[in-house]
């Protein structure tokens, strides 16, 4: 199975129906993407396919229709994405386990809606669970990232 992740092409020898989540984590060792529920209820596994946020636990490896971007491909500690910068400025993370998914979802939101209201943020982000309840800071970080992206 051929797949492109974060700009690199890989060939994977895994069953077709292996969820993309596990192909990434166990097949390729790309572990920024997380397992939280496996049933599209938590958003921890969120990645982008062709720039669009998807739950990687729900996409079969064989159905992966485009280029995959994970949190590692979004930005790195030395070259942060704007949304990651906002996340750090607001010190959002607590245990941090949900945050890859939160950030990937937030980037998707801001790509389609550069100036979201609180309600729109709630709507876009409510599929992403944060058991540490960092929600207020996620909201604030998204508003700030929106400003930074518009000004960029």
């Amino acid at each position: 199975m051929d797949i492109t992740v974060n700009g690199t092409a890989y060939t994977l020898d895994l069953p077709d129906d292996t969820p993309l989540l596990w192909a990434l984590r166990d097949g390729l060792g790309i572990t920024g993407v997380k397992y939280g529920c496996g049933i599209a209820q938590c958003g921890a596994c969120t990645v982008h396919i062709d720039g669009e946020a998807v739950r990687s636990c729900q996409v079969a490896l064989a159905d992966t229709w485009g280029e995959v971007t994970t949190i590692e491909g979004l930005g790195t500690p030395d070259a942060l994405h704007v949304v990651q910068q906002a996340w750090i400025a607001h010190q959002v993370a607590q245990c941090g386990y949900c945050q890859s998914g939160q950030i990937m979802q937030a980037v998707d939101l801001l790509n389609t809606n550069p100036e979201p209201t609180d309600e729109e943020i709630d709507q876009a982000m409510s599929g992403n669970v944060c058991r540490c309840a960092t929600y207020p800071r996620i909201r604030a970080a998204i508003h700030d990232a929106a400003i930074m992206m518009r000004e960029a």
Binding site: L14, P15, T18, P19, L21, W22, A23, R25, D26, G27, G29, T31, G32, V33, K34, Y35, G36, C37, G38, I39, Q41, C42, A44, T70, I71, E72, G75, T76, P77, L80, Q84, W87, I88, Q91, V92, A93, Q94, C95, G96, Y97, C98, Q99, S100, I103, I121, D122, Q123, M125, S126, N128, V129, C130, R131, C132, A133, T134, Y135, P136, R137, R139
Partner: protein, 750 residues
């Protein structure tokens, strides 16, 4: 050679020891001969040192021996050292350190003493001063009970101060200058002419130096780092997917295991048929580890699929098959022979209640899951007789012992690396995942294995926060309660954990379990006739620590009761509490929260407020919740919370933890419950065990006070008050007194 010297301060001393290319500073207690994790190899037989700061030519490492599960403790502990050492947090590395009984946590033990946190009597102070002794002997290295900050407050600052003065002494020796002429700044000793001698260059000689005196700690007024909000040391890693949790450990040739425990909790497995599973692509093995079945495969997914194909024959459960049956057992515990403790018995309650107009009620709370974002996980490799384990756990010393027992090897053959924790909330103080990964690793000798729990297994197999029942009988007179008889019953956490191998020392069932009556008997209310009794129900489902432990149910019982009494007395619920509260810091948090919420002004049309107060883990905490009636149901419109932590080390992190704690409590209060049907837990994943989501998360305004006499952590105190404040607000809005959690079972929430 180690120099275990003179720097004694309130029962501990700071010492230094040479390591390759540098020096380690740490705490040694003189009361027990503890094992020494970093220096054992260097100086066998020498007394132990708990390493806190390591300085070599490569850099400065601050060793923070507490589990980082999101509460920011690594940052706070590092800041304590940095404040005295004069280093910038950005320039240091933080390491979890190896498991060691030298990393005892005196704070956890203190919670068990029979003195309320407000009791400053000589006896209570004496017990607190002695707290390190049992802790050391019990080999606690536990993160829990919001105790980490409290425990480390002096030790880590002192380690930083001794390190700083030692490095200055080295610089003085090298330059021939008097110590008094040397300054320290940003990781270097600064000479009068401005020349900087980096600590990393001085470290190699530091172990040779012995200080004459214990350096004095800097006064609060001179702090530059403490008291200020710090960037979390883990925030970049956690925003870039580069933070490593146990489930992210990858080793060459690693295989992936998934566990299936019995759906009849605490039950054994009679037999299972793995033949179909073994024929599946990518499946290596299906292991019997005694209490569970583990499939090993090329991916976690393949192992999950394999488990679904196994045919199981489980031992039937030894407890009632439905939820009602469990509550019957708990209700049956309100008898003298089940009495666990009666830690408060002021006046004569029976006498005062006889002939009075008695108000009585019963409250119930369900079992709760922790539902940490990262399901339980651990990686391990057993090779050449030794076992390596990587896991995120709240008690690494106990974990090492349990891993050794499970693997049938000596503790010395076990190496445990603590990773970040994807949430803890008490769940990662359990040892099941450590015991299980050890058994798997032994059976898979030579192959590194990552063991994962599926969300389904994690949710439906426990351990849980105990289900519990609270009862009260009370009478009011002239606007205040004059007699209160309150009691609580639940199965014992400590007995259960002890049976499961999770506690440092056995807690047999006949010993009292202080968690049952926690935060019920020690509330700072002065009521003439006031009796608090805790009853221990017979064991049911496995139960364990859950964020704020016994307070998570008892504050609900107590503070809803106070609301009922205020209604009966026709009093404002804050005024009535203020009249009863005997502790100044507690009264001030109530005043603060009333001020924040503008309590004196009535809420807008269609809105109402409820209040709750609790003294939890030594931190008086008060919250007001405002609810709004909407067409979709009740909406939590705003939460105000004030807490007193004694000394506020990192305001932004305290704010984050309080908000997190409040929302954790709200989540449970609105919708969480574990129920049983036909002996099995009915909930399995986030669709039927619903965590609070963003659209439900209210704005939370926090205020931190510093009037209490001891420094306290804040990971838990936000949680217990959320349910009663919400229930009291719902009553104020609707007139409906809901006495069973979750509230969402009785009324719709938006």
């Amino acid at each position: 050679m180690s120099r275990l010297g003179k720097y004694t301060r309130r029962g501990f001393l700071i010492a230094s020891v040479a390591v390759a290319g540098g020096v380690v500073f740490g705490v040694r207690t003189y009361r027990a001969n503890l094992e020494n994790p970093l220096t054992a190899a260097i100086s066998p037989g020498e007394a132990a040192l708990t390493p806190y700061v390591k300085i070599t030519a490569d850099g400065i490492t601050i060793i923070t021996p507490r589990a980082e599960m999101g509460q920011g403790i690594h940052t706070t502990l590092a800041a304590l050292v940095a404040e005295e050492l004069d280093v910038d947090l950005a320039d240091i590395t933080v390491d979890h350190g190896p498991p060691s009984s030298a990393y005892f946590n005196g704070g956890v033990v203190e919670e068990g003493y029979p003195f309320p946190a407000t009791d400053q009597s000589a006896l209570a102070e004496f017990a607190r001063a002695q707290r390190d002794i049992p802790a050391v002997f019990l080999a606690y290295q536990i993160t829990g009970g919001s105790t980490s900050t409290h425990d480390a407050y002096e030790k880590m600052r002192q380690a930083g101060a001794v390190a700083r003065e030692t490095l200055k002494a080295v610089a003085a020796k090298r330059t021939g200058l008097a110590i008094a002429r040397l300054e320290t700044q940003s990781g270097a000793v600064v000479l009068p002419d401005g020349t900087r001698l980096p600590y990393t260059d001085l470290a190699a000689d530091a172990a040779e130096v012995e200080l004459a005196d214990t350096p004095r700690l800097r006064p609060k007024s001179a702090w530059r780092i403490l008291g200020q909000s710090q960037d979390r040391v883990d925030v970049v890693a956690k925003s870039t997917g580069t933070a490593i949790y146990a489930s992210d450990i990858r080793l060459p040739g690693m295989r992936f295991g998934v566990i299936r425990r019995s759906p009849y909790l605490r039950g054994a497995i009679r037999s299972f048929d793995p033949s179909e599973a073994l024929a599946m692509q990518g499946v290596d093995a299906v292991l019997d580890i005694g209490t569970a079945v583990v499939a090993i495969a090329e991916t976690t997914w393949a192992a999950m699929q394999a488990l679904d194909a196994v045919i199981y024959d489980w031992e039937p459960p030894a407890y009632p098959l439905d939820t009602e049956g469990h509550f019957e057992v708990i209700a049956a515990a309100f008898t003298p022979d089940h009495q666990d403790s009666r830690q408060r018995n002021d006046g004569d309650v029976e006498e005062a209640l006889s002939g009075a107009d008695v108000i009585a009620a019963e409250y119930r709370v369900p079992y709760l899951a922790h539902a940490t974002m990262e399901p339980m996980s651990a990686a391990a490799l057993f090779q050449d007789g030794s076992l390596r384990i990587w896991t995120g756990c709240q008690g690494p010393t106990v974990a090492r012992r349990e891993a050794a027992l499970a693997a049938g090897i000596a503790q010395e053959a076990v190496t445990l690396t603590t990773t970040l924790l994807g949430g803890g909330f008490g769940r990662r103080g359990e040892m099941d995942f450590v015991q299980n990964v050890a058994k798997v690793a032994v059976q898979m000798e030579g192959t590194p294995v990552l063991l994962s729990y599926s969300r389904e297994d994690d949710t439906s197999r426990g351990p849980y926060r105990p289900a519990a029942i609270g009862r009260f009988r009370a009478a009011v007179k002239d606007g205040v309660p004059v007699a209160v008889d309150v009691s609580t019953a639940s199965p014992s956490i400590l007995t259960g954990i002890s049976e499961r191998g999770g506690s440092p020392a056995p807690t047999p069932g006949f010993l009292p379990d202080f968690t049952i009556g926690q935060a019920l008997w020690d509330q700072p209310y002065g009521i003439e006739n006031y009796r608090v009794t805790a009853y221990k129900a017979d064991p049911l489902l496995p139960v364990g620590f859950w964020r704020s432990v016994g307070a998570s149910q008892n504050t609900f019982f107590h503070e809803c009761m106070m609301d009922e009494l205020a209604v009966a007395a026709a009093r404002d619920p804050i005024d009535m509490r203020r009249d009863l509260i005997t502790d100044d810091a507690s009264r001030k948090v109530l005043d603060a929260v009333a001020d924040m919420a503008d309590w004196g002004t009535a809420p807008a049309q269609g809105r109402a407020r409820g209040v709750a107060f609790a003294l939890v883990f030594g931190a008086p905490t008060a919250q007001i919740i405002e609810v709004e009636d909407t067409p979709q149901g009740i909406k939590v419109a705003h939460v105000w919370v004030a807490a007193d932590v004694g000394v506020a080390l990192d305001p932004r992190n305290l704010d984050a933890q309080l908000i997190s704690g409040v929302n954790f409590g709200l989540s449970a209060a609105i919708g969480e419950k574990i129920t049983l049907s036909e002996g099995m837990v009915a909930q399995s994943n986030y669709h039927d065990y619903p965590p609070l989501r963003m659209y439900q998360a209210p704005p939370v305004t926090t205020r931190i006070l510093e009037n209490a006499p001891h420094i306290r952590g804040i990971g838990e105190p936000g949680t217990p008050g959320a349910a009663p404040a919400l229930a009291n607000a719902v009553f104020a809005l609707t007139g409906q007194r809901i006495r069973t959690l979750p509230l969402g079972d009785s009324i719709a929430f938006a």
